[in-house]
Assembly symmetry: C2
Homo-oligomer: 221 residues x 2
DNA sequence: TAAACATAGATTGGATACATTTTCAAGCCT
DNA sequence: AGGCTTGAAAATGTATCCAATCTATGTTTA
């Protein structure tokens, strides 16, 4: 009775999404409806609903009458996502900056510092996500925000793998870009902030293209 | 036996999408699962699957334990879609042009002419969609193509309403832009083609912002 | 020996039936 | 008379059961 039984499907959707994003389910891995049904203590129907939702989010691949797999991105597909991000996220940032709350502004630089001192990769990824999403929190968008979140989600595995083999130099570059971005936002300079963000995403994409082993590592698993 | 029973859910998804895009179901209208189940000669389960898929496409709004409605866009949300299109479609076009088949190139200008002679609004909309999708047919993208198609779908109603009250001058402008776009593509000038396309979408967006009655008309229905 | 076929097993898809939630309207109280 | 409460009806969410489809293994044949 402690937990509401209402909306079991959405609960499973969120749990499954978290499991995929968290790395518990790896790209290319097959998903069996019965296994999930048992794991989450429900019937196969809400599981099917969840799979359909996640398929539309790009996290799951559904083949009729055959089964479901955790979505797997090729190097080219991943680059495609980053190219779209380059064009879409500066727009979202532009919509967001004028509406940012003071409380959000106050947390920007502390988050940058926290990222510098992050111990594990997981912690860095979480802080990085929190930082960028915070910069978007001023935009009241129904569609664009969800799109950006989807783009982040679909590349989550590769961001983790990439962060793992990140060299010292690229790490310092990322921190500098984050700080530049935060300062531009604090100045309210939308143009400059957008430019820095574009460069940040582009740099990551080019860096990623020089490390195709990120994808082979995942393929082997 | 004439029709395959396999994948009833996907069949219903496509039929329902076509009904929404075709205007049979109007924005804001409530969708009852039983009604659809009876209309398409199936149980409520595949209908639910279809609704979930379409919700992720942005064509349907699902509220847990309450019901489903045909998605409705406000003026601001519609502008948002167009702003995203301005940034994303030139990218898709850039990826497409180098890979366009000769057969596709041969159909570009005839389609522009066909649009000039379109009798009904529906015919114009269909040709317009065919033309633009043809310009994207050279890109082998898994995600970006689907994204663009979704963006088109969600604004389908408003494109129709807008085309209905289109003035003579804007109509001629649109035809000129289409012809310019086709010529740039035939020249293989990716940069210019992207510029023309960006201008084309932006012009439409600004034109749309000057006709907010498009949205009131739909609200009343 | 290798390739193709057939059969058995497993898995997904759909239909019916039931529990839960929401909504709407009538009745009651203020 | 108006607003709130209560109860019934309708619609959604879930579980169980059955049918259709795909995969894999083992067998047979060229």
């Amino acid at each position: 009775m402690a937990e509401k039984t209402a909306g079991s499907a959405v609960r499973i959707t969120e749990a499954l999404r978290a499991d995929i994003l968290g790395g518990l389910l790896r790209p290319g891995e097959r998903i069996r409806q019965e296994v999930l049904a048992e794991r989450y203590g429900a019937s196969r129907l809400p599981v099917r609903d969840a799979l359909r939702s996640l398929e539309a989010e790009g996290l799951v691949i559904l083949v009729p009458n055959t089964g479901a797999w955790v979505a797997k991105l090729s190097l080219d597909e991943c680059q495609e996502v980053y190219q779209v991000r380059e064009r879409v996220e500066p727009l979202l940032l532009r919509m967001s900056v004028p509406g940012l709350q003071q409380s959000a502004l106050d947390r920007l630089l502390p988050l940058v510092e926290a990222m510098r001192g992050a111990a594990h990769v997981e912690e860095f990824l979480a802080l990085d996500r929190e930082f960028h999403m915070l910069t978007y929190s001023g935009a009241e968008t129904t569609m664009l925000g969800e799109l950006v979140e989807r783009l982040w989600n679909t590349t989550q595995h590769y961001r983790r793998a990439f962060a793992l083999l990140g060299t010292e130099r690229t790490a310092r570059g990322i921190h500098l870009e984050h700080e530049l971005l935060a300062l531009a936002i604090l100045r309210g300079d939308v143009e400059d902030a957008g430019r820095v963000l574009l460069g940040h995403i582009r740099t990551t994409r080019l860096e990623l293209s020089r490390h195709p082993e990120v994808f082979h590592v995942l393929d082997g698993a």
